[in-house]
Subunit: 339 residues, 2 copies
């Protein structure tokens, strides 16, 4: 900018005034300055501006795994929304690791991000302290956080799984396997509650050996399914509370020589774009990813626009059961087995 000012024979203040329209500058000087800007190819340095202004027009976004289709979509929507608003987004993946998340959030805060969207992991205590210290607005995505009272966008997970399990029960299933991630994060906790609630509402017993915990990855779904199917009294249906793990479930079913839905019914949380093209067409609980991403972005954008004092807004969205052909009435299963 100094170069521009010199070339145009004006002061830097005038250049700044012109660029930002913060004061009126005469036509002659305007022209000289614009010419100089073109000649030199001047671009305003956003870092210096940030230092002075105290704002970076950058937000931080942290999710557990970007390869989880749910997060892929949500990240995509959020990124687009901020791009439209002229914000940059720094993306971090915590890999479901608490310390990693910790480091990443500090890294983002050090870089003076104007706001944070976080799908947290693990214990919320540290997150709470970080968020309290930092003076930036935070929106919690997908996962609520005990003690952190801030804008939130989550699904009604309990209700969604209740519906799915009830559907399975109505199909005649009595022994329904349930594969979940560690329940220290709210969605896993709430989904499990939905499972228990549905069984309870139907007057069915809860068989603890049918509940398996994994670490969110395909391999965990594989192992959990293997264990359940190797038992002498295997379930007639399996619900996976997490999207990547259901791939493992399907591989285990295949490897053990069974097939879905003939021998075992399968349903899972989170929809796939290809769900209704390949066989079996998985019955899933679809989350409104577009809405989730947009709401999260809007909530933060609203705070960024200056609305700091509004009380925390908690959005609870509804899932939708997408019934396809991966779950069969239990009668049909009995037939195919006896055939």
């Amino acid at each position: 900018m100094l170069h521009v000012a010199e070339a145009a024979r004006v002061s830097v203040a005038t250049v700044s005034a012109l660029i930002n329209g913060t004061a009126t500058v005469s036509p002659e000087l305007s022209q000289r300055i614009e010419q100089a800007i073109r000649d030199i190819g001047y671009k305003r340095n956003a870092i210096a501006r940030s230092l002075k202004m105290g704002t970076t027009r950058t937000i931080g976004l942290t999710v557990p795994h970007i390869t989880n289709p749910f997060f892929t979509d949500v990240v995509s929507v959020i990124q687009q929304a901020f791009d439209r608003a002229g914000y940059a987004v720094m993306l971090c993946c915590t890999d479901e690791d608490l310390n990693t998340q910790d480091d990443q959030i500090r890294l983002l805060l050090d870089r003076m991000v104007d706001g944070l969207i976080v799908a947290r992991v693990g214990d919320g205590a540290i997150l709470k302290r970080i968020v309290d210290d930092a003076n930036v607005p935070v929106v919690l995505l997908d996962r609520i956080c005990e003690g952190v009272d801030t804008d939130t966008v989550v699904l009604d997970n309990q209700r969604a799984v209740f519906d799915a399990i009830t559907y399975l029960i109505n199909l005649g299933h009595r022994r329904i396997g349930y594969i979940t991630g560690t329940s220290d994060i709210s969605p896993m906790h709430d989904r499990m509650a939905g499972y228990r609630e549905a069984l309870h509402a139907a007057g069915l017993p809860i068989a603890e050996e049918l509940i398996r915990f994994g670490n969110f990855h395909e391999i965990d779904g594989y192992n959990a399914t293997m264990q359940m199917l190797s038992s002498h009294d295997r379930p007639s249906a399996i619900f996976s509370a997490n999207n990547p793990m259901v791939i493992g479930t399907m591989k285990a079913i295949r490897d053990i020589g069974l097939s879905c839905p003939e021998d075992i019914s399968v349903a899972c949380f989170d929809d796939f774009p290809w769900s209704d093209v390949f066989q079996p067409q998985l019955t899933t609980v679809a989350q409104p990813v577009q809405a989730i991403g947009e709401q999260a972005a809007n909530l933060l954008l609203d705070r960024l626009a200056g609305n700091r004092d509004a009380p925390p807004r908690k959005l609870l969205l509804k899932g939708r059961l997408m019934i396809r052909n991966s779950c069969r009435p239990l009668g049909a299963i009995a037939q195919s087995v006896s055939a």
Copy 2:
């Protein structure tokens, strides 16, 4: 930092020296300073540091669509690599739009990113100018760029498609539909060349009506497939040069009342994690996503570490044909049709 200095009754220079280990400071002062840092909860401001140092420890990454599974994986790998190295990554999605890409790269450059990884889109001329002006290292990912002579990681696309089409030909297919994105980007151009080369090598004619151009999205694959299948002389196999479009192809096959592989064989570029679990199990060309992401990251990290003068390094990786069951010998197709 000023606060810390005051609280510890030292100068800011001493605080800085201690934090950065850039000079030795006496035990007494060290202790006082560390105490003050804890008391105040001081965190170094990375923006101010960046302004002074001229480096942000942040890189920019732009891809067309993060929802394209290939890019999802590559972005994930790259993000992890830079996270390990203490870098933040700003992610942008161009949506295959030239102007968007333009704006985003400028936005990243304004923010003084230390380097850029770009899976470019459209005409390379503007990209070239931008890259020349900016004084940051750039690595080109997935797509080379005429005139931009810099580090590059791409696949041997022509060879990969040649292999896939040859496989189809050996199965007995003669009329092979080909669905591609606009060929102004190198992978699409090279893959098409592989298609033509394979037909030519087998002495087969190239039927231009079997080559359809789409815009990379599922809907484009759908439309292209619909058109081909509605013709009186439809192909016996379809190859989709792009991953999202093959979902459209499968939907079109279903909607038109045909089935794969019984009525028509399908193969495509880019592998899916679930390819060998659902039916039909798609035959695909798998890219070494892990290697691609790591190499791109390493190339940039190496430049960032100071190796600026090495000549541009061009990495050409090999694809792998994953043969599954979505392609049938033509004889079998004839049988199932006559049956």
